[in-house]
């Protein structure tokens, strides 16, 4: 379990973390989500001891770890750009933490074999990092971090440098790995889809503060702040309120509460269609609908239609965030 108590950190005039407190449950997979500059990486580095907080406390497994050197925290760290030991083979990279701990040679060999198997790099042991793809390098880095059996695994934008296909693959694979090892894991990301897809719990950060801690579904359905509403999933402003694009409706016939709008653009997103419109007051909204519905409406750019928000206040779970 990780306990973060009132941690603040400045870099010169920039306030990276502003009185952040957070608990991470033992054995959970937690995502820290936020835009760049929100302090999420700094928070992770402080937990690992790679950065010292100006004030506040970090507790690991119930003990104050704030003053403990990174070497002694029992924390595994994975960096966005792999941080591979370039002049060592994959085997030696993975074995590094075990050699530091002066484990017997036979035990090291066995553990490295086991880890290479786990990250599907068996047969790559004698290669150098330069001979691996990005995804393979990151898996090697993961094996290296896991080798000394850390009590906490921290990943800083672990898939940020990989291309989209590999990223999706590794994402699912990380979730599976976590389900097998149950190591308390925290990963930092700016990709909301990544966070919502694999984390048990998502911490949304903005400007050095925690905006909300919630499960993926709760985060989307009941965002605590306007920032969360706009950052997690898409939101547009309609009649002064923030709403999801799929909560709006395009109609051709007059209806109560409907406003006139001009169709600007129609985008096909797989099985959904997204229609971008300009309202009568000049503001822009987007409406998401099924393809079938879009086909029925026969929308075309330039066309004047009506936009409304059906079902307001009638048993809906709408987050009523007033802007």
């Amino acid at each position: 379990m990780i306990e973060i108590r009132n941690v603040s950190k400045r870099f010169g005039a920039f306030r990276a973390l502003d009185d952040v407190s957070l608990d991470v449950d033992r054995g959970s997979l937690t995502a820290v989500l936020g835009p760049s500059g929100s302090g999420k990486s700094t928070l992770l580095r402080i937990v690992a001891g790679l950065e010292q907080p100006d004030s506040g406390e970090i507790r690991l497994a119930g003990e104050d770890a704030t003053a403990i050197a990174p070497q002694k925290r029992g924390v595994g760290f994975v960096f966005q750009h792999y941080a591979a030991f370039k002049h060592m083979t994959v085997r030696d990279n993975v074995a590094f933490g075990l050699k530091v701990r002066k484990q017997p040679r036979a035990a090291i060999t066995a553990r490295v074999d086991e880890l290479l198997q786990l990250v599907q790099l068996q047969g790559f042991g004698h290669r150098y990092p330069a001979q691996l793809s990005g995804g393979q390098r990151q898996r090697m880095a993961l094996a290296r971090a896991l080798a000394p059996e850390p009590s906490v695994l921290l990943l800083d934008e672990p898939f940020g440098a990989l291309d989209a296909r590999v990223r999706t693959e590794l994402r699912a694979w990380l979730r599976k790995l976590h389900d097998e090892t149950h190591t308390t894991t925290v990963f930092v990301t700016h990709d909301q889809q990544e966070a919502l897809e694999i984390a048990d719990s998502v911490v949304v950060m903005n400007e050095g503060r925690v905006e909300q801690v919630a499960g993926p579904r709760e985060l989307y359905d009941t965002p605590a702040t306007e920032f969360v509403m706009t950052f997690v999933g898409e939101a547009v402003r309609f009649d002064g309120e923030l709403v999801r694009p799929h909560e709006l409706e395009v109609a051709l016939d007059a209806a109560p509460g409907a406003r006139e709008a001009q169709v600007e653009r129609i985008v096909q997103l797989g099985f959904e269609t997204r229609c971008e419109l300009t309202l009568d007051d000049g503001s822009r909204v987007a409406v998401q609908m099924t393809r079938t519905h879009a086909a029925e409406l026969e929308l075309e750019p330039g066309q004047i239609v009506l936009v409304r928000r059906p079902g307001v206040g009638i048993g809906s779970e709408l987050p009523n965030v007033v802007g």
């Binding site: 690992a48 001891g49 790679l50 990174p70 070497q71 002694k72 925290r73 924390v75 595994g76 760290f77 960096f79 750009h81 941080a83 591979a84 030991f85 370039k86 002049h87 060592m88 590094f96 933490g97 530091v100 701990r101 290669r127 150098y128 990092p129 330069a130 001979q131 880095a141 290296r144 971090a145 080798a147 000394p148």
Partner: protein, 266 residues
């Protein structure tokens, strides 16, 4: 599939070959020919004469000592310039190159004024071998600083952090993570420093006193023997210096090859 060479390639190759021939190969050939025209026996007897041996031993010995000192001190200097922040850092960075800009004889003159018989510091090491090492270090330290500095700059700091979180102490991180990465840079610098130190004359000639068997370095030996009309002796010693320098560069090149093995894809 074989890549077709670009249209300009033959011309460029011709230029490089011509320059290399005129500036390097021809003079070297002339030197070897001059030293060998009286036969191998004559060559050997000149080279193995006590004064030649003493001069060569001194130059090579001093170059080895200086290169080793450069490797350590140059790396420390580069480290401080890259990793530490202090007032006057950019000034210090600029001053490092001074020995490059200064004519070597001026450097020698400065050292003589500072560490000679009329030293304002009260340190008189003129006409000793210590003075030779000092002068050579003055001339060659920047080579190592300037080759290690960019490598240190490019170093992946996160690799060091990864090692730290894996439990490695600072000494171990330097030995196992940092040093292997900067070693090719150090070796390049040392190769340049050694080559320069073996043949250095300007900065050494004033402060060493040029006492045969004691403080006469090989380059001064060659100069003195040319002056006294002994072209045979001069060119024979010159060829030995050439061969030693060449072998050393080759050896360091080999070491560099080994230390950068991991960068080449199999």
């Amino acid at each position: 599939m074989q890549r077709r060479p670009r249209a300009g390639a033959p011309l460029q190759l011709g230029f490089v070959t011509t320059f290399l021939s005129v500036l390097v190969l021809l003079p070297v050939a002339a030197l070897v020919w001059a030293s060998g025209k009286h036969g191998w026996h004559e060559f050997w007897s000149v080279v193995s004469a006590p004064e030649s041996v003493a001069a060569l031993k001194l130059s090579l010995g001093a170059a080895v000592i200086v290169s080793a000192l450069d490797a350590v001190l140059g790396t420390i200097t580069a480290w401080v310039l890259v990793r530490d922040d202090f007032a006057g850092k950019s000034l210090m960075n600029a001053v490092i190159d001074l020995p490059f800009a200064l004519p070597t004889i001026v450097g020698g003159l400065t050292l003589l004024a500072l560490y000679g018989p009329s030293s304002p510091l009260g340190v008189d090491i003129a006409f000793t071998r210590t003075a030779i090492v000092l002068a050579l270090m003055f001339e060659t330290l920047p080579f190592v600083v300037r080759t290690v500095q960019p490598v240190l700059h490019e170093l992946d700091r996160e690799a060091e952090e990864a090692a730290r979180s894996l439990g490695a102490g600072e000494a171990r991180i330097f030995r196992t993570i940092v040093l292997p990465s900067i070693l090719p840079g150090i070796l390049s610098g040392v190769a340049l420093a050694f080559a320069r130190a073996v043949g250095e004359i300007g900065s050494v000639v004033l402060i060493s006193g040029n006492l045969p068997f004691k403080t006469e370095v090989a380059a001064v030996f060659v100069f003195n023997h040319i002056q006294s009309g002994d072209q045979n002796g001069a060119s024979a010693v010159a060829v030995v210096m050439l061969v030693v320098a060449f072998l050393l560069l080759l050896a360091i090149g080999g070491l560099r090859y080994l230390t950068t093995r991991h960068e080449r894809n199999a």
